[in-house]
């Protein structure tokens, strides 16, 4: 959200988001950039009081001023747009380190999320993803508007036009053991950013693919369905428990696998079932955290 729009910043905590991206980049007009920087410190505190993590998206070409304006207690991550070289990430890392020290933030805690939004960024993707220990998740913007502009790729089509750059991002993330922030292809032929039904389909597709990190949205109308779609259903949880029971039987029989109707029960299915149950528990825990944070704010009001 644009940091210069007060009503967005003031109400973000009510949206039940897991993270809020405070934007200094594309949603802030050029003549307001300097003013925007003065608002970041307060915005971090405001958007995170409902339990969300606060991220700041800085500008590629004003890294120094933007980092100086953004590194405050409560900041979780800096998103760096249009990353093209590992040395840019090294420079960002050093700047963050300097301000962490100066501002009483625990060293090394602020993360970097380098966005890959140009052809050159894709070409250097592994070196970029490996460039800092502050990078813990990777891939968010690969396949977004900026990459489509850089390469002349159409954005709203009914097939997966970003197979290669997204694949490069995900392979780099997985090779380096980073969290994979990506989404399976779900057509968006209208270009709407507030279509809650589509948001639900997108999040459900991600969940069924085993992806656990949402890629975010541009309108509060999609938040609830992103949360809902990424959370396992009761039916899935029952199925996971059934798979684990069946796998215990397989193990006791001394076999490596068996089939039940169309289903294969083996160590891979058992691992997926176990992961799903753990993910459901993590979702419940996160919802509790957010509910407690909201309750605290309301009690103080």
């Amino acid at each position: 959200m644009p940091v210069v729009t007060a009503r967005f910043v003031d109400n973000a905590w009510r949206r039940s988001c897991d993270f809020v991206i405070i934007d200094l980049e594309d949603s802030v007009p050029h003549h307001l950039k300097a003013h925007a920087r003065t608002l970041v410190k307060d915005a971090i505190a405001k958007v995170s009081k409902g339990g969300a993590e606060a991220f700041v998206r800085i500008n590629h070409d004003s890294m120094e001023e933007d980092v100086e304006a953004s590194v405050w207690p409560g900041l979780k991550r800096i998103r760096y747009p249009k990353t093209e070289h590992a040395h840019e990430v090294h420079r960002l890392d050093a700047l963050i380190t300097r301000y962490e020290g100066a501002r009483g933030v625990e060293p090394g805690t602020i993360e970097i999320d380098p966005s890959i939004e140009t052809a050159l960024g894709v070409a250097n993707i592994f070196e970029i993803a490996a460039a800092s220990a502050r990078i813990r998740e990777f891939g968010a913007a690969t396949g977004g508007y900026d990459l489509s502009r850089d390469l002349g790729i159409e954005m709203f089509v009914d097939f997966d036009q970003f197979v290669y750059p997204r694949g490069e991002a995900e392979l780099a993330a997985r090779t380096l053991g980073l969290g994979v922030r990506t989404a399976p292809f779900v057509a968006n032929t209208t270009g709407s950013v507030s279509d809650a039904d589509r948001a639900l389909r997108q999040a459900e597709a991600a969940r069924k693919c085993g992806l656990r990190l949402g890629t975010g949205g541009l309108n509060p109308a999609v938040v609830e369905n992103h949360n809902l779609g990424l959370t396992p259903t009761e039916e899935e949880l029952r199925d996971a428990q059934w798979v684990l029971e069946q796998y215990r039987v397989v193990e006791e029989s001394g076999a490596a696998w068996k089939t039940i109707g169309e289903r294969v029960i083996d160590r891979y299915e058992a691992a997926r079932a176990k992961e799903l149950l753990e993910w459901a528990a993590a979702c419940a825990e996160r919802n509790r955290e957010k509910a407690e944070a909201v309750a605290r704010v309301k009690a103080q009001a």
């Binding site: 392979l171 693919c209 490596a256």
Partner: protein, 251 residues
């Protein structure tokens, strides 16, 4: 990757290795049935199809299993676990073994060590030096990332496959029916095997196929699509998948 890209690959490889059927070495009746399936290659597997407690008995019968598998004319490969490479290779490298599939191959160093073990075992056991081939199964992110170096690491390298990457990397179907990330990984593998000069093995599986398992009809369709993007043969897990693989990749 700073190496200059050069041609490589196993010399004198036979031309027809299109259908590869993976079989547990400990089950004689399954090997006999597999040998009648028409598979070009039987892969006697010490990794995927056996529970851990059966692995040592499977190693003990491996030499006999080669003979049973070869009886119907198929070539025999062994699939080994790189974390027990020496034990597995001692059990499986005997006259009659055509090659070794390295499951979850992850580095050039690993392939180099396996090559050195093969040099020694060939000499000890009366096998012509350098004749046991290798196939790298790139089933992990690390293995795919290092694909070029892995495939360049031995003159024995015949080919590469993604094996059961969909299960090992936990890649699941997208709404389109494509298995997440596989379109990218398949094309990447085909380009890299092309630069190194080794054979890409695989089929373009779609939901509900998983881990090389599919109905005969889906197997045919997957192999047909696979051939269309450059694969030269594929692996499977059931005897009834062999005929559709042969049909799709030959002719």
């Amino acid at each position: 990757m700073t190496d200059e890209i050069t041609e490589g690959g196993a010399a004198g490889a036979p031309s027809k290795r299109q259908s590869w059927l993976i079989v547990p070495p400990s089950k004689r009746d399954e090997i006999e049935q597999a040998a009648r399936s028409g598979a070009d290659v039987l892969v006697l597997d010490l990794v995927e199809l056996l529970p851990d407690r059966e692995k040592s008995s499977a190693r003990n019968v491996f030499r006999d299993a080669i003979a049973v598998a070869k009886a119907a004319g198929a070539e025999v490969f062994a699939q080994i676990d790189p974390s027990s490479a020496e034990t597995d290779l001692r059990a499986c490298v005997w006259p009659g073994l055509a090659g070794v599939v390295i499951s979850r191959a992850e580095s050039a160093a690993q392939v180099g060590e396996i090559g050195t073990l093969l040099d020694r075992l060939e000499m000890e056991r009366g096998i012509a030096g350098g004749t046991v081939h290798l196939v790298a199964a790139l089933e992990t992110a690390q293995g795919n990332h290092a694909a070029h170096d892995i495939l360049h690491a031995s003159h024995r390298m015949f080919g590469a496959t993604l094996g059961r990457a969909d299960l090992v990397m936990d890649l699941r179907p997208e709404p389109s029916g494509e298995i997440h990330l596989m379109a990218y990984l398949m094309q990447r593998l085909i380009i890299i095997t092309g630069t190194v000069g080794v054979t890409p093995l695989g089929a373009w599986w779609r939901a509900p196929d998983r881990g090389l398992l599919a109905t005969p009809e889906n197997t045919y369709n997957a192999a047909h699509r696979g051939r269309a993007i450059g694969f030269k043969g594929a692996m499977c897990l059931r005897p009834e998948q062999v005929e559709p693989l042969n049909r799709a990749f030959s002719g």
